[in-house]
Amino acid sequence: MPEAKATLATTALRVREHAIRMSGGGGCFLGASLSCVEILVYLYREFLNISQDLLDDPARDYLFLSKGHDVPALYGLFVELGWLDSARLANHLSVHDQIYWHPNRNVPGVEFHSGSLGHLLPVAAGVALDCKLRRTPNRVVVVTGDGELNEGSNWEALLVASAHGLDNLLVVVDRNRIQANAPTEALIPLEPLAGKFRAFGCEAATVDGHDFNALHRAFFEAGQADGRPQVVIAETVRGRGLPSIEGRVDRWFCRFSDAEVTALLDELHGAGPARLYALPEVVR
């Protein structure tokens, strides 16, 4: 990896700070945002050929965030990349800005709006198809949730992507094993997940989604086109970085007081578990 692992870890820490701050006020989907931090940091810092100067370049890479409720992590990262003014994060949920619970293209760098699950794999497959038609070398990455894979449109899109040999399409599953309000395996079991993807004609690998070296190896492998769509199942932990909410089924959407946000930031920096008073919220 060209960039030192320590630098990536520092970026990840900053991104988590931004996301935690967004859980104050009206709140955000903090648990889901924290599980995908290393995935996004790795992809934007190390893997993708994307920068603000390249947005009009037909040969650049793409990242579609299909599990759109984790957008605090994306916006936090955009701040760290220098794409987004950090002051705008303070506008979170303001009707006078466009920083709300799901991504939208009014924020530069967001490829497409999402929020309704199971949409961006088909959309990304369309982009990947056009890249093939034009013979441009783009890689088109889609980040999906694991619960999101309940939606049949993902599997339709994989059938089609496989039929069209879209090996420039790279699906990353944020496998935190908890969907909105239930463990995935208790509700609608997905395992054997890699086997399912392979049965749909994809190449699939499973990695520790919080380990930059592991992600690097997996994406390097996945970047080697072999005629099949590529899938990286990134095993992650919902709420990663905050032991007080890690792996908790009831900490998907979080709305914390200012004091709790401060305590969570301290917890993130190793101060021990934050005392949380906000009741877990069930959104769906």
């Binding site: 497959a125 899109a157 089609v160």
Partner: protein
């Protein structure tokens, strides 16, 4: 009345514009000749309408103009959320061509009947809706429709031309087929021919009938509709669509918005699907063939006077 087919016109437009990509969810009836000639710009995704529409959005993000084909019922309903969320919110110029809409589904039964497609598609912000009378009307409008910067829903038809259509096509402008001052018949799509024949019957009875082929229902020719309401004593809307959300609703909205009072006879499907059968039999059974339309309109006209 020689005109190129839909397929020939689409091919010609695709050859002139490399942005066009022809897609289908394994419904090739209208585009059977295109796979070989368009090669990679012909994309058959198989039987998955929602994935087709999602992929079309992705292609449009890359500057393409995808022209998507599927049966109207599945394109507008199975894939509705993809149309609304990916194409609609994205304001992408995806063209959606619905096959066998309305009575054209013939004997397929209610699963295949798109008789709410206009309501659904016009409910999507930015979406335009084109419902040509026949294939000649379709190919007349097609170059303008495909050049539109909007997403467009197209009610496909391969019916032979009922009349020599006005070659001057404008999105949002109705074709005035007959002028008249007693009754104005407003219609679109497959029922245009029946309405045209009914108009002739009524005119032969000495009733001055105006006939409008709406062509695009969104944007609709509000001026032509309001003029018809002002100039005539009875408006008749004729459509193979539910009573809610289609042309009758469009006309009602306009009359209320512009405070125009008018007598309106809506001929549509009220709270039901239609009896499946071959087109001519369906038209007759459901009371939409020219003779029955003329009788209904005449009865209403005489009751009125």
């Amino acid at each position: 009345m020689n005109h190129p087919t839909y397929s020939e016109t689409l091919l010609q437009l695709a050859q002139a514009d490399p942005r066009l990509v022809v897609m289908t969810a394994e419904n090739r009836a209208a585009i059977r000749d295109l796979p070989d000639v368009l090669d990679a710009r012909f994309v058959d995704v198989g039987i998955c309408e929602q994935t087709m529409v999602g992929m079309a959005a992705g292609l449009a993000l890359r500057g393409r103009t995808p022209v998507c084909h599927a049966l109207a019922a599945f394109l507008t309903m199975r894939a509705f959320e993809f149309v609304r969320t990916d194409v609609g919110i994205g304001r992408l110029p995806v063209k959606l061509v619905g096959g066998v809409a309305g009575f054209l589904s013939e004997a397929n039964g209610p699963t295949h009947q798109a008789v709410e497609d206009v309501a659904l598609m016009r409910g999507v912000p930015g979406m335009q809706v084109f419902c040509p009378a026949d294939e000649a009307d379709l190919v007349t409008g097609l170059p303008y429709i495909l050049a539109s910067e909007h997403p467009v829903y197209i009610r496909h038809t391969a019916l032979p031309a009922a009349i020599d259509h006005d070659p001057d096509f404008q999105i949002g402008r109705a074709e005035v087929v007959f002028e008249g001052s007693d009754i104005a018949i407003l219609t679109y799509g497959v029922l245009f021919r029946e309405a045209w024949l009914a108009s002739r019957m009524l005119r032969a009875e000495g009733i001055s009938v105006r006939l409008l082929n709406l062509r695009t229902l969104k944007p609709v020719d509000a001026e032509a509709i309001l003029l018809a309401a002002q100039d005539t004593d009875l408006l008749v809307t004729v459509e193979d669509h539910f009573l809610t959300g289609g042309l009758f609703s469009i006309v009602s909205e306009l009359l209320v918005r512009y405070r125009v009072a008018a007598d309106v006879l809506p001929l549509a499907l009220s709270e039901r699907w239609f009896q499946p059968g071959l087109l001519a039999d369906v038209l007759s059974y459901e009371g939409f063939d020219a003779g029955k339309l003329a009788d209904l309109i005449m009865a209403r006209w005489h009751r009125r006077n």
